[in-house]
């Protein structure tokens, strides 16, 4: 039987059309390693939220940008590294919203970031010296 790779990579253009492809990439990896459905659902949503933010904010809806998603699947944790070379944007600078206040003010941007931080165990962001923005998210597997 073919060995299932613990390191995988998907490169897509920055179009929301590719969100389904991104979901399938995560689900397929999660299935290969028998991840609990609860974990795979959380990872899938977090990755999609991150990519949506990249499309909207880093690439400003320009569909020619490149998004690279790398997976590193360890026995006890699932790591996702997402790279883009769009506009620098640090999600960790966004304060955690007061959700009730959010609804009152009809401020529905920023919810994706809130979800990523809630659903994943670790979210870190850095911009490399070559201008590549790197978002790393870790889910400790249950």
């Amino acid at each position: 039987m073919k060995t299932k790779s613990r390191n995988r990579e998907l490169i897509v253009k920055s179009s929301t059309k590719n969100l389904s492809k991104i979901r399938n990439f995560i689900i397929s990896a999660a299935k290969d390693f028998n991840l609990p459905e609860e974990d795979s659902g959380k990872i899938m949503l977090s990755v999609e939220e991150a990519c949506t933010n990249i499309i909207k904010h880093a690439y400003k809806d320009n569909t020619d940008g490149i998004i690279t998603i790398k997976l590193n699947i360890l026995p006890k944790q699932f790591e996702v590294i997402i790279e883009d070379n769009g506009i620098h944007f640090n999600p960790n600078n966004i304060p955690e919203p007061d959700i009730e206040e959010y609804h009152r003010q009809k401020r529905f941007g920023g919810l994706g970031m809130f979800l990523m931080k809630k659903l994943m165990d670790k979210v870190t962001y850095k911009t490399l010296s070559n201008g590549i923005n790197t978002l790393k998210m870790i889910k400790i597997l249950s």
């Binding site: 969100l19 389904s20 899938m44 609804h103 979800l115």
Partner: protein, 115 residues
């Protein structure tokens, strides 16, 4: 295969919006169109049936946040019915149960409008 579909049914005076599949940043505009159409036709009492919705991201949740006030200003509302647990958990995480009504059965949601 389409990732998402949205259709409407009338149960006067309530409009039922059936959503199916994956509601994300790519498919959210399809739902926005339906809500715009409801507003144009003075339909402000909306029940969204989530029975066949598999997945929602924040872009999908944002659609409800964007339209609910308009419906409420016109003595209507957007009520949610028949949502599966995975989808409900995301609504719950973002505090929706504080401000929106959720029903296990579509008819209960309709009844709430009719009184």
């Amino acid at each position: 295969m389409a990732d998402f579909s949205v259709t409407t049914r009338e149960s006067n005076p309530v409009t039922i919006v059936d959503i199916k599949g994956y509601l994300d940043a790519h498919t959210a505009p399809d739902l926005e169109k339906v809500f715009n159409n409801c507003i144009e036709n003075n339909k402000f009492q909306i029940v969204v049936n989530f029975k066949d919705l598999i997945y929602i991201s924040s872009a999908g949740l944002g659609v409800f946040m964007a339209y609910v006030e308009t419906m409420r200003e016109h003595k209507g509302d957007i009520k949610f019915a028949e949502m599966n647990k995975n989808v409900y958990d995301i609504f719950d995480l973002l505090g929706f149960p504080l401000l929106y009504e959720f029903f296990e059965d579509e008819n209960e949601a309709i009844k709430k409008f009719i009184g």
